[in-house]
Symmetry: C2
Amino acid sequence: MSLLVVGSVAFDSVKTPFGEAADVLGGSATYFSTAASYFTDVNMVAVVGEDFPQKHIDFLKGKKINLDGLQTVPGKTFRWRGEYGYQLNEAKTLETQLNVFERFNPKIADSYKNSEFVFLANIDPELQLEVLRQVKNPLVIGCDTMNFWIKGKKNALLKTLKEVDILIINDGEARELAGEVNLLKAAKCVLSYGPKALIIKRGEYGSLFFNNSNIFAAPAYPLETVFDPTGAGDSFAGGFMGYLSNTRNFSEPAIRQAIIFGSVMASYNVEAFSLDRLKSLDYKDIEGRYREFKRLTHFEDL
Amino acid sequence: MSLLVVGSVAFDSVKTPFGEAADVLGGSATYFSTAASYFTDVNMVAVVGEDFPQKHIDFLKGKKINLDGLQTVPGKTFRWRGEYGYQLNEAKTLETQLNVFERFNPKIADSYKNSEFVFLANIDPELQLEVLRQVKNPLVIGCDTMNFWIKGKKNALLKTLKEVDILIINDGEARELAGEVNLLKAAKCVLSYGPKALIIKRGEYGSLFFNNSNIFAAPAYPLETVFDPTGAGDSFAGGFMGYLSNTRNFSEPAIRQAIIFGSVMASYNVEAFSLDRLKSLDYKDIEGRYREFKRLTHFEDL
């Protein structure tokens, strides 16, 4: 069992109604890998600049994340600055410095080529395809994207989607990708592009899973304080793909359990800035919250 | 088993992205009673004008709804005109003619006084209290309200809430009533006002149930076409209270089942204008959709 992820490693500066944090560790690959590390072996593919400190490397290595594919190149690490209002579902981006991420050319280390599970975090769909060309017949390919690529690189994205098993995007992205307001119709349209399954993330409202025959609805875990939603979607994907990689079971019951594990990881992630909560979990915490999801949603048959 | 509801009977004119309907039967008591009629005996308390046609009376009687408490008085029936955009969660009210509803003075018919279950639909909280003074020790009192009363008659509303077992309101109302953005904190605050339980309706995102020890999350049924959301909340409350009245079981498992039955009735209601879908159900349809809710939400224990 091994899970390859390609995505960003970044410094985030975030302001929410509950506080702020400057230049903290972030990025889709970072959140994904950390969440997935509780379930499976993770192979990270990303790029950082020369300003990336050893302490972050040590943290990732401490999570037993394989960094053979983490390139360090001349220049500065990707930086993002954003803020959230009380409506925590959507970030307002204040500044993006792509820096070394602008010329990111993902190279799949030899030690990664047999990764059975692959997750293409939100990067240029042309790079996502490049990655797929370098891996050998993975069992499951998961993928994320965003409105920027849906608008700007639709054709490349559609090519990537033909190769993808499970697309994991938010509701606004699903609507835009399908050109359809109704989520159920949008889901059918997106599935017609190639993915065998689609997970639509809805922030505080949970998520919906669609394949060609069924729908599964998972709530979000109700929290009194959502400190910082940054990375929630990537933590979800990390828990989800991590669990699948661990069990190597792709039945729908297993996929539904994986979605709950994804929801658990996302719920922990938003409890603190950066990876402050996610990094200090143990597997008992994760199982405990899984059981709370069960209590939260269970009702008797007729 | 009998369930008293006090609320409005109205003519609605509604425009949605999918069509429009003029002067069709509506009103909180109408939606509630029709939904509840599939589960229990309903005693309706409401007022209409002399323009209210016999065909609507015949329809309600056909559902075996007791109309002893439906007053017909000189003047015109309450009229509401509104429209919905693609964001179907919130109606834009274009016109409200209170007409006979303005001087509504609910009288509880003698045949109603022993109703074991009472639902106070969204009317002036002073009238809600009047109704409670006229009924004899009901087992369960449910209640709805809206921002208009939260803003304008908060003190009267707080008095009503002290008497209420289950408050059923939407997320915006819960936030406004508590003066708190976070739903979990808002729920705790609302429960401190008196109700033993609170259901927060979230439209297409389902509902959350809170009591002092637990939370239950129910999704909405995913639909390809939401024709007209008018009356969804009242249909939910009707299914919920109707099922409780039928079983006379107030354990939390029964309440959770009642919430699913409420969600079932709301999902049918929005499939057509007015009561067009709600009126033609049979109990097998309702049970069938209940089972679909189970398939929609079920995942395995650890």
